[in-house]
């Protein structure tokens, strides 16, 4: 059974984490796969404070929210447990009308049959849909160009311009605009003066987040007449794109257009670039990808005081956290030691 937590929001503090840990450890031994006929057995929590309730025969009562305040905490009271550290707590799935969706009846029709809720057609189904043949040219790849200065800035710019015009002719000017292609790519720079562009670059580079600054706020202050969408559009369609182009030329192996603070230096200053970490990484990988090295023996040596630190049993609150080198418990006892026979790797 999955442990259910209270509907009321718990303060995420050490004491509640500690409580969760103990109850979860007792739960783990119930986590087997009973046959479908075994009825659910509500139990009284050893910690008290929760009252058993009958599980209704008709679960639709539950969906309508009759059961609200005190869900059962399904914990056996007489369980023995040899080593609580071997079983990390399961993150509970919360239950109640504040969590689950209300399931509609399957009636085969919808009162909302307005056409506007089906999307507005921008490009209709091609006429050749009814044929199975795919003779018309779709999915052409890159063609080699015959420019004398092939690969130069001029050559690249020319081919991008040609591609843009081909697409515009291909789908029609109206659809080109409707699909947002007017505001894609370097063409966006046409809406900005050279001075504004220079100022934009200066603001981004002189207000890095790593120094507690926010270039975005500065941009909004500096260009009050610009909408946020215009600023975002310039940032990705011109600024980041140009920066990536420079990376491609000077440091292609480390090219990373997702690092908002990356400053590209020319080859003469590469060795002094303090923005780059001294980490060897495989090509195509961002340096921010944590790679867990399970072969590092030093990670199996741990400070005794940390074993009882309940933070090791907390769940990541942030998706963007750059995690520490794994749960100490998993490292010591291994994931496979929970209730799965440990066998050798292939």
């Amino acid at each position: 059974m999955v442990q259910k937590r209270q509907l009321a929001e718990e303060a995420y503090d050490v004491s509640s984490k500690h409580l969760k840990l103990e109850n979860s450890c007792q739960l783990v031994s119930c986590l087997e796969f009973p046959s479908k006929d075994v009825p659910l057995k509500p139990c009284i929590s050893a910690k008290g404070g929760h009252f058993p309730i009958e599980i209704p025969e008709n679960n639709r009562q539950f969906e309508s929210g009759i059961i609200t305040d005190k869900p059962t905490r399904l914990v056996p009271t007489d369980d023995t447990y040899s080593c609580p550290l071997r079983f990390p707590p399961l993150k509970e799935v919360p239950v109640g009308p504040e969590y689950q969706a209300h399931i509609p009846e399957c009636c085969g029709y919808d009162t909302n049959n307005d056409d506007k809720f089906l999307g507005s057609c921008v490009i209709p189904m091609p006429e050749s849909y009814s044929t199975v043949s795919t003779d018309f040219a779709v999915g052409k790849g890159r063609n080699d160009c015959f420019c004398e200065d092939r690969g130069s800035l001029r050559c690249v710019r020319q081919h991008i311009t040609e591609a843009r015009e081909n697409l515009r002719v291909n789908i029609g000017h109206e659809r080109f605009s409707a699909l947002g292609f007017d505001s894609m790519g370097d063409a966006v720079a046409c809406e900005w003066t050279e001075e504004d562009e220079r100022l934009f670059h200066e603001i981004v580079y002189s207000n890095p987040v790593s120094l507690g600054k926010n270039f975005w706020e500065k941009l909004e202050e500096t260009f009050p007449s610009r909408t946020n969408q215009e600023i975002v559009s310039y940032y990705f369609n011109v600024f980041v794109l140009q920066r990536r182009a420079e990376q491609n030329r000077f440091d292609p192996i480390n090219a990373d257009s997702d690092d908002d603070e990356l400053q590209v230096t020319d080859s003469s200053e590469e060795d002094d670039d303090s923005c780059r970490d001294e980490i060897q990484k495989p090509p195509g990988f961002s340096i921010k990808n944590p790679v867990f090295d399970h072969d590092d023996d030093t990670r199996f040596i741990f400070d005794d005081s940390k074993v009882w630190d309940v933070d090791y049993f907390s769940f990541p609150r942030s998706k963007a956290d750059f995690l520490p080198t794994g749960s100490m418990i998993e490292e010591v006892f291994g994931v496979e030691s929970w209730d799965i026979e440990v066998t050798d790797n292939e």
């Binding site: 779709v138 890159r142 690249v156 699909l179 894609m184 990988f285």
Partner: protein
Amino acid sequence: MRSKDRISYFYDGDVGNVYFGPNHPMKPHRLCMTHHLVLSYDLHKKMEIYRPHKAYPVELAQFHSADYVEFLQRINPDTQHLFPEEMAKFKLGEDCPVFDDMFEFCQIYAGGTIDAARRLNNQLCDIAINWAGGLHHAKKCEASGFCYINDLVLGILELLKYHARVLYIDIDVHHGDGVEEAFYFTDRVMTVSFHKYGNLFFPGSGDVKEIGEQEGKFYAINIPLKDGIDDTSFTRLFKTIISKVVETYQPGVIVLQCGADSLAGDRLGCFNLSIDGHAECVRFVKKIGLPLLVTGGGGYTKENVARCWTVETGVLLDTELPNEIPDNEYIKYFAPECSLRIPTAHIENFNSKSYLGTIKMQVLENLRCIQHAPSVQMQEVPPDYYIPDFDEDEKNPDERIDQHTQDKHIQRDDEYYEGDNDK
């Protein structure tokens, strides 16, 4: 087998011009790049393109609580400091920052998935694509993991009006907790999530033991994986499990979340899938032949996201794309190689055969607990579907999996898709 699938593709140009903030990994601009690449390969010549309507607050409240929707609508970066309690209550700030045009962004991506579901319900298409959607962490009353509105839940609720059983498949590297939680107590939605689990990886849920509760018991499936899983291991496990799920559950429609952070080299992910491996899963689900709603999801190395979803648009259109990316506005993002495929990394696959075997065994055992007893839920007869055959016991895992094997086409009396769709 019916004739070629009719594909509806949803896109709104405004969705890419929002910014979560400096150094935030989620960059909606990846959607502009994807869309541009799709059209650069001329794929618009094989499908119809729709601009979705912006979902109304009342539509969002079909799942989310009214006060949460209302707060999302009125809060903005300049006023957020005035509402610290609500910001905390709805888990906004940090991972889910308040940014300009945030609510409109939510309306667009949610509207896309809702419209996609409705087109499928009305049999106006066989496959509907909304790369802007797939934000699977959002909860009924709070934001989570860069997700504010759970478009997948909203889309599934639409599909449930026409289908007794909906199958949800999630191949994002993160557990699809928001969708699972929403449908944890019902057997009308089966949620199947393949994700990294352990080492405090977000969101922390998704153990194989999470199987649903009460009426929904055995209707939540979780496949927890470790770092470094490769194409062979992943696709084999995926096909084995999904085949069994479809055969057992007999859904009327499938929703597939294609989070691209399960690719090698993702900024936040830790798997080692190539684009071909990721796309193989999409191909397999398409081949089943059921109505299909495809969404995006995670993906934090935006060039690879664009590559992946372009390849997968091609897969859904039965079009193999050449590796050389044609000239387009964003070609510099793909330079210097300008190739559609990406290398996998030389990292260890911590998913041993025995571990994967154990997980598979537990999942299949749970599926056996779902009986085919006649009930209201099972009385709806699903349309024609086809479970692509494959040999999961093949000796040499490096060999190409042969999909041209015995036909398991199942005939039903009341076909949905008899003849061409004239609409």
